[in-house]
Every structure is written in C-alpha cells, then in structure tokens.
Symmetry: C3
Subunit: 109 residues, 3 copies
Amino acid sequence: MKLILAVVQDKDVTRLQDALSEAKFKTTKLASSGGFLKEGNTTLMIGCDDDHVDQALDLIRDNCSRREQMVAPISPMGGNADSYIPKPVKVEVGGATVFVLPVDAFHHF
Amino acid sequence: MKLILAVVQDKDVTRLQDALSEAKFKTTKLASSGGFLKEGNTTLMIGCDDDHVDQALDLIRDNCSRREQMVAPISPMGGNADSYIPKPVKVEVGGATVFVLPVDAFHHF
Amino acid sequence: MKLILAVVQDKDVTRLQDALSEAKFKTTKLASSGGFLKEGNTTLMIGCDDDHVDQALDLIRDNCSRREQMVAPISPMGGNADSYIPKPVKVEVGGATVFVLPVDAFHHF
Ligand code: NI
Ligand code: NI
Ligand code: NI
C-alpha cells in the first residue's frame, strides 16, 4: 500500500480525477496553494496498492504534465479597442509534483 | 511515532475530534473534499506514538463508521403540502478512510 | 528524499515561506485548522533531500518557535475611555509541529 500525494494545477485536477476514477482509484482533494507550482493548485491524495502506483503515475503524467499553451492576452485598458488585434502568447501551464509515501496500515471503516 | 491521516465525513468530525482530544490525541484538520467519501469530508492528521495507534483507530471506528440513518425526505415542491406525510428514508452516512504512515522524526518547536 | 509536514501559525507562515524559498526549498500550503496549535494554522509540505532536512528544520525553528509577545489588550466596552490606560499583556504565540516522513519516490512532471 502506498499513499500518493500529487500537487497539480487547479485547471488539470478535474480531468485527472476523472481519469483516476475511471481506473478505479479513490482520491481525496486537499485545498492547497503556492510553492511547488504557481498559485491555484490542489493536492490529491491517492491510496493504492503497490502494484498500481505506476498506473497512477502514468495518469498523472498524461493529464498534468508541464506544457506550453497559446493564450489570447488580455486586451489593454483604454486606447482604441477597435484597432487592437490580440496576438496569442505562449504560456507554460500544468505540471505535477508527486510524492509516493509508504503506508504502514490502511483501514476503511 | 506514526502519522494517521483519517478522511471522515464533516458531520462526524467534531465528535471524533472531541473523543480524540479527551484521550489526549493532538489533531490538525485539513480542508478536503470528494473521492474516498462523498463530498463534504475532512482529513484529520493525528500524530501519535506507535503504542497509541490502536486506540486512535478504535476512536475513529467508534465515531465515524459507515452506518444507516433514517432521515425525513425533503417535502416536494408545490402540490398540497397539508396532505403530504413525509416517510423517513434510510441513507448511508459516515465512513472513514485511514492511512497510518511511518514517521522518521517528530519535532515540536 | 523526505516530505516535511510543518503545522505552523498563520502569522508565521509568510515569513517561513520566504525563508524557505530563499534557501531554495519548494513548499505547498495546505489549508488547516485547530488542534496541534491554536486556530488559524497552516500546514506546509516541504519536499527535500535527506541532507537538507536539518536546514529546513532550522528555518522552521528560527521563524516559528513558540514565544511570548506583549500585546495591547482590547479596551473595555463602555466606561470612561479617556481615563483607560491599556497595559500590555504577555501572550504566547507561534509554535510548530513537524513530521518528517520517508518518501519512496518523487516525481516531477
Ligand atoms: Ni491490479
Ligand atoms: Ni500510553
Ligand atoms: Ni545541498
């Protein structure tokens, strides 16, 4: 038995939880923020048997890896909005920091 | 030394914390949600000596076990409220998912 | 690799995070409350190599130790406020409860 603590961005957490749930993993979300990743992250606790750790890690990697995304920039305040043509910019999103912890005992009451 | 992480329903957490506190256990509440249990859960961190783990587990089992409860259903919207006789229904409440983690070192500053 | 879980008072957490960040530690904040310390605490998760645990513990001790502080008491409601001279009182603040957990594996995606 292992306890996986995965710190992931808020924007990825629903997709990850869906993927984990489909694969029969049970997860609990802890409200978290800052530090390992930019603001707006969530820590997932995932309890699983030793032989399912790799599968869980694959799902986290598949759904949360750091990646680049094109986003429309916020249009500037004031000025002539009509003549403003927003140019998409590349930003880095996602990313996951994952700890796999040993578990001495697991109970479900 | 062990660190017990107990995911329990919000409705059970105050009673459990009172029971743990009376038995001299120190606890910290982490805001959590979803997954192991239905929405509205709390994760308690309980640090304790190895020889008190069983006592803590007993208190969690006693206060949080999954159980059936009779609840009055929400009365239906509209219709003739006077003639509506609510029939209590059985629902499953409670439940606890518990991880006992080994601790390399404990400090109190 | 270790995972340090440090429960500290809200009033100390920003200073501690700054000190840890300056020393290149990565931290994640978990919303927490009650128990180990008085209400209003935060749990920091700090992942670090075995040989940096002592440095992290030093920073926690330096920034969060239990200490006495003189505070101006709330002035009493009603009465003659003009003639009331508040006398500072000593209160205990700070404190940290720290668990160092073994980590089986660490991943960053
Ligand atoms: Ni299997
Ligand atoms: Ni004893
Ligand atoms: Ni070093």
